[in-house]
């Protein structure tokens, strides 16, 4: 049973990927993708129902050697890519990985054998659910999207197979990454995701795509280098394979004085993958790729691997300065990128900045390192994956309707594509408003932030900025002319199924989060840090038990009345939307000082010399204050400084 489940989670995507690569027929390929997706989803639910397991592949096949060989294959691919793209940075950071790895294997003659090789605890189960369910939906979406994408680009030779191959492979690598207990295997899966990421970003083969893919590659390769160094450090100072077991590292099985250096290096690796400042540019560059790539990178894979690693290691750095430093690095990223998001005129870049901001928040929660904040981090991972996955799929659908990614071109989308606008609007509202899950996570984070007051102040400022950029964008979508009865647009099932599933998911999981927390997420939290002061009372509310700041004993610290808040949302928005109707006779044109030219269906007015002129409205972007040019030098300098302090904390704490 366990054999089969592990094989499906990690190896099925590989097999299915190769199958997809050879199938040239659109429908046959689609069927394979849908089947793989369904099996992966069912398998992840099986993992959830089975609970924690440990697993070591049966002896008889030398998986360790295979992984070593593949490690070199990946790193040599980096070298070849570096030469082909003539990119010095890619070459350098490929070399800084391959040389230490060779040293580790051949000079030190390291023999690594960790048992169990895989540990699937509740945290890993949460991750695999996110990866398999949301990742699979994105793969289904990509089937149709890539066909439309190629039709629009007028390609001679279809490259859809190649695209779907890397997309499906990504899911397998992510599953391996979250299950792996052997640090060397974890490193392998880590590099596979980096490679998949490069291949997907560079998919369109344009100059800009190649350039941005190369940047993603070298930035992540610096993380890979730190990973290798951490492995060598652990192996030499602890002398043996047992030091390379993740469970040993976090379980206190290793003398902690020397531990912080490798842990700090691994946290740096997590920061590169999670695109924390100053590495945000690779994730922004990744926006040139077709939208399913962005959806996958931002919601369920890649960046989530970065925060997963940092959360996973949380017990290893609990109570140290390193922990505080991580909270501040994450908090600062949350603040900086939320400000930068306001200045963005391209929809996908706003989404990207918002992702980085939320990853910063998750990172900060890991750094705050209390049961409350870790629970917030896990909840944020889940809800962010749902909402952001949905928003990227919406962005892709919008792009295929108006063939633009610019926010200003989306003006009045509510009239052109009401269904997609509705889904997008709910997706956006779910990112920052009560009663939705993201806000629940942010609420717990704020309630937990007292331990690192500087991070708390970053959270406060960033939350306010978050409201501005979402509302601003939403306002552009919803601006309409006085007209009634918009015709609904048609969506192909490959678009509609993922969109509506995620849309419903926001409500179902958001509304049912109290029992889900109780039965499931609480266990994931206690896999990281013992103790739990979140009490879910039925379906109604989530209550935080009193804290221990030496205050006069407070019965409860805070309460989030889920049931009541959803009721308020229903009364406030859904009731009037469903039951309120206007009559055509009640409509009037907007006020234009009496200079409008006609009825409700025109936006022309009489300009100078009574010439009919269409009037134009635009959004505010504050480029001078929070634009990339104005802000980047400052925030990047501070971010580099903070990152240096973070690693420094690992070194001096011993």
């Amino acid at each position: 049973m366990t054999d089969g489940m592990m094989a499906i989670a990690i190896l099925l995507p590989v097999v299915a990927g190769f199958l997809i690569l050879v199938i040239r027929n659109y429908f046959a390929r689609g069927v394979v993708v849908v089947l793989t997706a369904s099996v992966l989803i069912a398998n992840s639910i099986l993992f959830a129902s089975k609970g924690p397991i440990t697993y070591t592949p049966p002896a008889g096949f030398d998986w360790g050697t295979l992984i070593t060989v593949l490690d070199y294959a990946i790193l040599i691919t980096y070298l070849v890519l570096g030469l082909k793209l003539r990119n010095r940075l890619v070459l350098i950071f490929a070399a800084t990985q391959i040389i230490p790895l060779a040293y580790f294997e051949f000079v030190m003659k390291a023999h690594v054998e960790v048992k169990p090789a895989f540990v699937v605890d509740y945290l890993a189960v949460v991750m695999t659910l996110v990866i398999c369910v949301i990742g699979s939906l994105i793969c289904i979406y990509a089937i149709r999207y890539m066909r439309d994408h190629e039709e629009h680009a007028h390609l001679d030779k279809s490259r859809q197979s190649r695209f779907l191959f890397w997309l499906v492979l990504f899911l397998g690598a992510m599953n391996g990454l979250v299950f792996a207990n052997n640090l060397v295997w974890l490193y392998f899966f880590w590099e596979v995701t980096t490679l998949c990421c490069f291949m997907l970003i560079s998919h369109d083969k344009t100059q800009i795509a190649l350039q941005n893919a190369a940047r993603a590659l070298w930035m992540n390769a610096t993380g890979g280098t730190a990973f290798i160094l951490a492995i060598i450090y652990l192996y030499t100072t602890q002398g043996g394979s047992s030091a390379l077991s993740v469970q040993n590292i976090i379980g206190g099985g290793i003398h902690s004085a020397v531990m912080l250096v490798p842990v700090a290096l691994l946290c740096y690796t997590g920061c590169t993958k999670a695109a924390q400042m100053p590495f945000q540019s690779w994730l922004l560059g990744a926006m040139v790729a077709p939208t399913p790539v962005s959806a996958l990178l931002h919601s369920s894979t890649m960046v989530k691997a970065g925060v997963y690693l940092v959360i996973r290691l949380a017990p290893a750095y609990a109570g140290t300065y390193l922990s505080t430093a991580i909270a501040i690095v994450g908090g600062f990223t949350f603040l900086g990128t939320s400000a930068l998001a306001i200045s963005q005129t391209t929809g996908k870049r706003v989404l990207a900045y918002s992702t980085i901001a939320n990853l910063g928040l998750i990172m900060a929660c890991a750094g705050i390192n209390t049961p409350l904040s870790i629970a917030a981090a896990i909840l944020l991972i889940i809800f962010h994956a749902i909402s952001k996955g949905l928003l990227f799929l919406c962005a892709g659908t919008i792009e295929h309707q108006i063939w633009s990614r610019e926010i200003e071109d989306m003006e009045g989308l509510a009239a052109k594509a009401p269904l997609v606008t509705l889904i997008t609007a709910v997706g956006m509202l779910s990112m920052f408003l009560p009663p939705f899950g993201m806000l629940l996570g942010k609420w717990i984070a704020l309630e937990a932030a007292y331990k690192v007051p500087l991070a708390a102040i970053f959270f406060v400022l960033a939350s306010a900025l978050t409201m501005v950029f979402w509302t601003k964008w939403l306002g552009r979508l919803l601006q309409v002319m006085p007209k009634l009865g918009w015709p609904l647009e048609k969506l192909s099932p490959s678009y509609a199924v993922p969109l509506w599933t995620l849309f419903i998911g926001i409500f179902v999981i958001g509304f049912g989060i109290a029992p889900i927390y109780q039965d499931f997420i609480a266990s994931a939290t206690s896999n990281v840090i013992p103790g739990n002061n979140i009490i879910a009372s039925g379906w109604a509310s989530i209550v935080l038990a009193g804290s221990s700041t030496g205050q006069p004993a407070a019965a409860i610290q805070g309460s989030f009345p889920l049931w009541a808040l959803y009721l308020v949302l229903g009364i406030a928005l859904f009731l009037p939307m469903l039951f309120y109707g206007l009559k055509p006779t009640q409509l009037r044109p907007v006020y234009l000082c009496g200079e409008q030219t006609g009825g409700t269906d025109t936006d022309e007015w009489l300009a100078e010399a009574d010439i009919k002129t269409k009037f134009i409205l635009g959004g505010y972007y504050f480029q001078g204050t929070v634009g990339e040019k104005a802000l980047n030098p400052w925030v990047n300098t501070v971010a580099i400084f903070l990152l240096a302090i973070m690693i420094g904390c690992g070194v001096i704490s011993k």
Binding site: E447, M467, T471, L478, A554, A572, R588
Partner: protein, 286 residues
Amino acid sequence: MNQFITVIATIVLAPIVGGLLFGIDRRITARLQGRFGPPIMQPFYDFFKLLGKESIAVSKMQFVWIYSYLVLMIASLVCLVLQSDFLVLVFLLGFAGVSLVLGGFSTKSPYSHFGANRELLQILAYEPVLLLLAIGIYAQNGTFMVSTILSRQEPLLLSLWPLFIAVLYVLTIKMRKSPFDLATSHHAHQEIVKGITTEYSGSYLALYHLAEWYEIVLVLGVIVLFWANPIWIGLLIAFAAFLLELVVDNITARMTARWMVRLSWSVGLILGIINIAYLYIMKGVF
């Protein structure tokens, strides 16, 4: 059952208090400007007159958003009277603000857009101050629950006075008083048409005014929290703050939105941060 009665009483009584406060506001402002001014009950006369007008609109969503502005404002106030979580209260207030802004954005009207953009900047200016207040309350009480503030004997004002000053800013912004009456103003002489409410008329405008009445009760209610025991001192402080706003309103002119955000993000936040830092050092968290 008790809670149910409290909620109903709040929903009924708050707009009466809010409307009366606006009546007092108009009377005092008139006197300050050398006019006689309308009767105290004038806001109610206006309200019922608006309700009786023919309802015309420029889009359906406009109604949805202004109505949700009202509902969310009531929800936020209910959060206060039920002595619930202060952070949830602030989030609901934020949602209400977002609803109002989206109402402004949901038509293709230049004046309404002006107002909506400025209202958004107003949210940016006051939201962090309120969240900092929440953290200040936590630093003092060890909980975010309003119930603990009310049961506490020592008033918050003594330890949170810098945040109190910052909250007075919020009061000016929320009451739409000069120098922060950017989105829409009560004074005609400095207004671009009618800002964010330009496109509302008749019963829709009445809804907006109703929401404003709830809003002023809510914000003054937050000020009462600074001296909750005995509560009459808190009420006096809140009324004094209200009168202070009227004076400030009449001796200043509208400033730019940029200036407002800068001021609130510098002075307001510095006050809040110093306050919280002091509390943390005193509690020995560091």
